[in-house]
Symmetry: C3
Subunit: 263 residues, 3 copies
């Protein structure tokens, strides 16, 4: 642990503000099932003073690619020192690695299946560790509870678990860190998020064979009218004012979107 902090001096002094550190959960476990609660109980045991925030438990099932774009879009909105515990892990139990990433002053704990790779690639100073520690009781299907929660708790407490990790030069699985011109999430209103950032207002945006107009926000568009906007995490989003865009246009995760920047 002392060693751990030496290694990290100058990067982020987690220790000093551990009381305020938030552990952020991003998974495909769903909220209705007893998985998230078991992780939280483990976090309460090993990081009793740190707060836990459910960011998203509905990453499209078995889809680390969509999850990676979502995670990379959310991360900058959280304070440095935040610890993301992330699980979208169809390969759990197989020999895929478990990793820790430090990127932009934020920590990420999860499987080495690409899920963390975009958040990592969008920061110049990213560092990587493989989790080499194995807990006494490691279930084959629930590394989120048995492995990641423990590591995330120690980091959040400001006690970097150097003895449980081995430095890596790079991640084993990396997705393209550029924009993804596809639907990556559909919310309960039926709004369709895409993986495209920084779209100017005069761009031409179409999806499902339909041209969408730009709207600043919902209240500026007629009731039932479709439009696109840059959402609160900077991504291009398709919506219908007081309606359901996914239903109206048959949009689902993976569907392509066309974005034509005029200049």
């Amino acid at each position: 642990m002392g060693c751990g902090r030496l290694v990290l001096s100058g990067i982020v002094n987690v220790r000093l503000k551990a009381g305020n550190i938030v552990i952020v959960l991003l998974t495909d476990f769903g909220l209705r099932d007893p998985y998230v609660g078991q992780i939280k109980a483990r976090l309460a045991e090993y990081a009793p003073a740190q707060r836990v925030v459910d960011l998203l438990h509905e990453v499209p099932d078995f889809n680390p690619h969509a999850g990676a774009h979502l995670l990379a879009a959310f991360a900058p909105g959280f304070p440095p020192g935040s610890v993301f515990l992330t699980v979208v892990d169809p390969g759990v139990g197989t020999p895929r690695d478990a990793v820790v990433v430090l990127a932009g002053g934020r920590w990420f704990v999860g499987p080495d299946n690409g899920l963390l790779s975009i958040a990592a690639a969008r920061n110049a100073d990213s560092r990587f560790w493989r989790i080499t520690w194995k807990p006494e009781a490691l279930s084959t299907t629930f590394h989120g509870r048995d492995l990641f929660a423990r590591i995330a708790a120690e980091i959040a407490r400001g006690e970097f678990p150097a003895d449980k990790l081995t430095p890596l030069d790079t991640l084993g699985v990396e997705f393209d860190a550029g924009d993804l011109p596809r639907v990556i999430y559909v919310d309960h209103f039926g709004n369709a998020w895409t993986g495209v950032r920084g779209v100017p207002q005069d761009a031409r945006v179409s999806a499902a064979g339909q041209l969408f107009r730009h709207g600043e926000s919902f209240g500026f568009v007629g009731k039932g009218e479709g439009f696109w906007f840059v959402n609160s995490v900077g991504l291009l989003e398709l919506a219908v004012n007081r309606g359901n865009a996914a239903a109206a246009y048959g949009l689902k995760v993976g569907d392509p979107v066309q974005v034509q920047r005029l200049n």
Copy 2:
């Protein structure tokens, strides 16, 4: 801040018990989406010692009227000093105001679209402020995170943000504060809540062309039988013992209910 507390002396001494203050969330964001988590992360940053409780994130979509009746029914069950962060806000991004209400010793932060108006009208001592502060980064679609969370956090910490607010004489949008004889919420059991309070046991209650009998509670009614009762927040509710009233009678939010008091 000192000014803020002077203004409020004699109304509610939040400062003294800030450690126990709860921030209560009532929105139409749904629990499955990444909106509530972003709000909670902001609250953890600005009110790290205060607890946050998810009261309801399934206010009927785009329906501040139903939300206002629900909020007014829930509020008295929470301790004085509680801070309600409320978002049912189809006009987000347009020039509708954002407001703070102090009513019955409880705080409410949200849009000035009627959502807070019934809780306010049912207390004689209510006070109002417009939120005049704008954060550096204010998204057009997520004032819950960028604006309301910050104000709610400061109030919950006991630091009334007088410099971010301007006193108002009244709210801009007010709903009728009397009972609403309609379905305002359907829960996952299929129980239909209405906006009608204080119904005596011998009243005649009908809905969907059907007369309902009164039942003290579920266990007193035959399996599959429909009945009405006064629920745990004082509202008339229609239910089926071990069944789904909404499905059985085709009840949905907005449907009328007839209540005939015999004396």
Copy 3:
């Protein structure tokens, strides 16, 4: 209170570690409704320093039998001193008793309808109390908020409420504490949990007229292939790799599973 702790000396010294005690919620209230939030607000009021974890709010509706098997499977994974607040209570409001159970060093608060009986029976040292206290305001339909939350909070604070309880020799309703060869839960992936423990890898498992092969974990099985495994709480679970077992095989809560141990 002093009395309460005397009675319990030698069983579990909750007082010493009350700061780390977790209150664990297991109910059929669903997460989308405003029931859990009201319970949490009450817990925040009466146990402000204790953490609250949502373990499961989707116990099959009105099904304390399934709930009892789930609770008994989860409990050993939580630290001694944990306080389970459990509500699956179709008889709420009728004269069924409310009880406290101490089993395996963990506390359970809930209705005496069998829900706690399997967790109790699987520990040799279990002790029982009837809740004899009535709060001033006891709704007929929401004992979880008005009664159980208050008792659970006091226990979690380390202040055993001896004056609100009467010792019992045994529970009024007890389910068979052996395995239950039926589906007791279907998660959002469509995985079907059963009430069968400790199944060896060479057992023959079938359900829905179908023989299932054993798989160590999802990643070891072909995409779309059905299999069974021992899940992270020790129960036999039926699944399809990257698919929905409940949909593929028409499995639902209550369906039988056949387990043939070869030796």
